[in-house]
């Protein structure tokens, strides 16, 4: 139901806030009953539910806000949630949290209290927490927080009476939470400069300004007038003096405060061991157990499944049997019988024909490999393993002196380098962004490329090991070099870890099919365009000239001349180039050493067109062209060195 809303005079307001999936709507429905209105919040497309209730003879209006994780908004929903909190003049703000994730959700309670809002904490889903042996002393928590705390399982009608009583008896209280001395000094310094009237406490405002809250910066400019410049100067001075990500610093401080608040509040009943998922979760993040577990995931999840099944069984069936034995001979014969023009026959069924190269590569080689890879990827992703991998990688990074903050774009790069390049904008300094962009362009293969390379190399014993060792070595070398170039403190890395869970078959299937569809729609036109360009190049002689021009480079890498064509394919997309190598390998034109050298060089080679365009957009022409030159030079230099090394040592020989 949608309707515009008018406030009834004298009606007090109860605002429900909290993360998604904590039972806010159930609380809303339990308080208000059936008569509610849903309307877009003025000036936005975000829906807000309003209802009414009567508690102890008093009429209340109840507002259910969109899910929000913090007072510092990132999404439109969070911005609207914050506006509601400060513009609706609440009698009480009920912060609904999940009892099982109290530690994760309490930082927002602190933010709400700090802001000067009349907060009541509703610890919901308490029944589930008790079932896993958790005991929560709500009286002690209320004492520590200085606000009423109600334990409830509203979905089971438990605690609803207590909630209504607490709302009726609510008297605003004020508590202050102490941050570290240096941070406190900064907060006071900024708060002391603020003189205007705001709906939130100066202390909270100072903290949000330190975290570069743009909306509040605007508000301060409007309220303070000429004085705003002085506030901005102090804020910028503090940010410059600290030279750390203050958002992260404040989050970690709040986490420390919450730990103190929950001390003796949350206890685990003896005899109930942590769940298997929790123990496994801890093992995945410990470097001693996490690295072997990662290797197991890579071996069974990717090497055996993608390399063995996808690139072996499925490709053999599609490419070897369906295309080579049935479709290709039939289509070629038909064209030879019915099409008299050489150029047209070449365009469709020639060496670089639309059908014989473009369709065959896309459908019979790339899609099955990438499809099995996406299936494995979706299973790992749905289990919640990736955030743990980020934590593990961060710990390994720290031993090497690398920057912890770069973990997220680097890990995301294994999904898609292009988007990960966009994510590098979240890094603090231009230097960090450039280094992360370089690492992504150079050594992080995207999911599609990794799938095809895995499939390509898994058939040659030892080749994949050489590929992994070489890429890891270059990554560490570039990382260590950049750590030298970028001296200074190691920034902290912090992220919330969601629960580890069994992958849901439906989720896995949907994600796999969706990614396959998206991938196919993206690569198929490119493969067609590439085929046409190669065909035109062949007929005009430009391709032969290009292959000739690349002959000395191929010679330096110890590769046959024909490999030049695969590298030209690689200019379009690296996975297209890898498919070219696959073709050469199956025709017996590449030795194990040549295949490995070509695969390593191609992996390090220039990024795909999309990634290059985004690099240009994010870093500008100068930097992206420089990265392009560095990456290309390094790729061929490493290929040359690897060839000499493999030939000299006889490895893979």
């Amino acid at each position: 139901m949608s309707a515009s809303h008018k406030d009834s005079p004298g009606e007090k307001k109860i605002i429900l806030v909290g993360c998604p999936n904590v039972g806010k709507s159930v609380v809303f429905n339990s308080l208000t009953g059936a008569y509610t209105t849903v309307s877009n919040y003025p000036g936005t497309s975000v829906e807000v539910s309003r209802g009414h209730c009567q508690i102890a003879g008093e009429h209340y209006q109840v507002l259910d806000t969109p899910g929000m994780y913090a007072l510092l908004p990132i999404t439109e929903e969070e911005r609207v949630g914050r506006r509601i909190l400060f513009e609706e003049d609440p009698h009480v703000v009920v912060h609904v949290v999940d009892a099982r994730n109290l530690e994760r959700m309490l930082p927002m309670t602190i933010q709400l209290v700090e802001a000067g809002l009349p907060v009541l904490l509703l610890v919901n889903i308490i029944d589930e927490a008790e079932r896993v042996g958790m005991r929560i002393d709500t009286a002690l928590l209320a004492e520590k927080l200085g606000i009423p705390v109600v334990a409830a399982a509203i979905g089971r009608k438990r605690g609803l009476g207590e909630l209504r009583q607490a709302i009726a008896a609510y008297r605003p209280q004020r508590a202050t939470f102490a941050y570290a001395t240096d941070l406190e000094r900064d907060i006071q310094r900024i708060a002391g400069q603020i003189h205007g009237r705001y709906r939130l406490e100066r202390r909270s405002l100072a903290l949000l300004l330190l975290q570069r809250d743009e909306e509040l910066q605007e508000r301060v400019r409007a309220v303070e007038g000429t004085q705003a410049a002085a506030i901005e100067i102090v804020v910028n001075e503090v940010i410059f003096e600290r030279r750390v990500d203050l958002h992260l610093r404040v989050s970690l401080e709040r986490k420390r405060i919450c730990k103190g608040l929950l001390d003796q509040v949350v206890t685990q009943r003896e005899g109930i061991r942590p769940a298997v998922a929790e123990r496994l979760s801890a093992l995945t993040m410990n470097p001693w157990t996490g690295v072997p577990l990662l290797l197991l995931v890579l071996y069974f999840g990717l090497y055996q499944f993608v390399g063995g099944f996808g690139a072996g069984t499925v490709v053999d069936l599609l490419e070897g049997t369906l295309f080579e034995e049935h479709l290709n001979p039939w289509v070629i014969a038909w064209f030879e019988r019915h099409v008299p023009w050489y150029w047209l026959r070449e365009l469709v069924v020639g060496e670089y024909g639309l059908f014989t190269l473009g369709v065959r590569y896309a459908v019979a080689i790339i899609l099955p490999i990438v499809g099995t890879f996406f299936l494995a990827f979706a299973m790992i992703e749905d289990s919640g393993y990736f955030p743990r991998l980020a934590m593990l990688v961060d710990r390994v990074f720290k031993y090497l002196g690398l920057n912890g903050r770069a973990v997220i774009p680097i890990v995301l790069g294994f999904g898609c380098d292009t988007m990960a390049t966009v994510v590098t904008r979240t890094l603090e300094t231009v230097r960090e962004r450039v280094i992360a962009t370089l690492l992504l362009a150079l050594v992080i293969p995207c999911s599609a490329q990794m799938g095809v390379i895995l499939g390509l190399l898994s058939g040659v014993p030892g080749a994949l090991t050489v590929w992994v060792v070489t890429l890891t070595g270059i990554f560490l070398l570039v990382g260590l070099l950049t750590a030298k170039i970028l001296p200074g403190e190691r920034p902290m890395f912090y992220m919330e870890i969601p629960p580890l869970r069994l992958p849901q078959p439906r989720n896995v299937l949907v994600k796999t099919l969706t990614r396959m569809q998206w991938y196919f729609l993206e690569i198929f036109p490119l493969f067609m365009i590439a085929s046409v360009l190669l065909w035109a190049g062949k007929l005009s002689g430009a391709l032969a000239w290009l292959v000739d021009a690349m002959r000395p480079v191929m010679g330096l890498l110890g590769l046959p001349d024909d490999t030049a064509a695969a590298f030209i394919f690689g200019f379009f997309r690296r996975d297209f180039g890898a498919a070219g190598l696959y073709d050469l390998q199956t025709n017996g034109l590449l030795s194990p050493v040549q295949l490995t050298v070509a695969a390593v060089t191609l992996t390090l080679f220039v990024p795909c067109v999309a990634q290059f365009l985004i690099m240009k957009k994010e870093r500008g022409w100068k930097v992206s062209l420089l990265i392009f030159v560095v990456v290309t030079t390094l790729a061929f230099a490493v290929g040359w060195l690897l060839n000499r090394l493999l030939l000299a040592t006889g490895v893979l020989g």
């Binding site: 994780y69 999404t75 997220i408 774009p409 988007m419 994510v423 036109p525």
Partner: protein, 56 residues
Amino acid sequence: MKCAFCDHELTPAMLREEGCGACLGGCRKIHCPHCGQENPVTPEFLVKLLGKKREK
């Protein structure tokens, strides 16, 4: 729908947001505003197909 990386809830409003523009043929992914992860948007035909199966 939840982000596959950070587990934050992705809302219908985010579905309508434009992508980074890097992909040919338009964006078929939701970019999580919290961590940047690309989450594939389930195509219409799959939504219909799975919806019909569920109805049966």
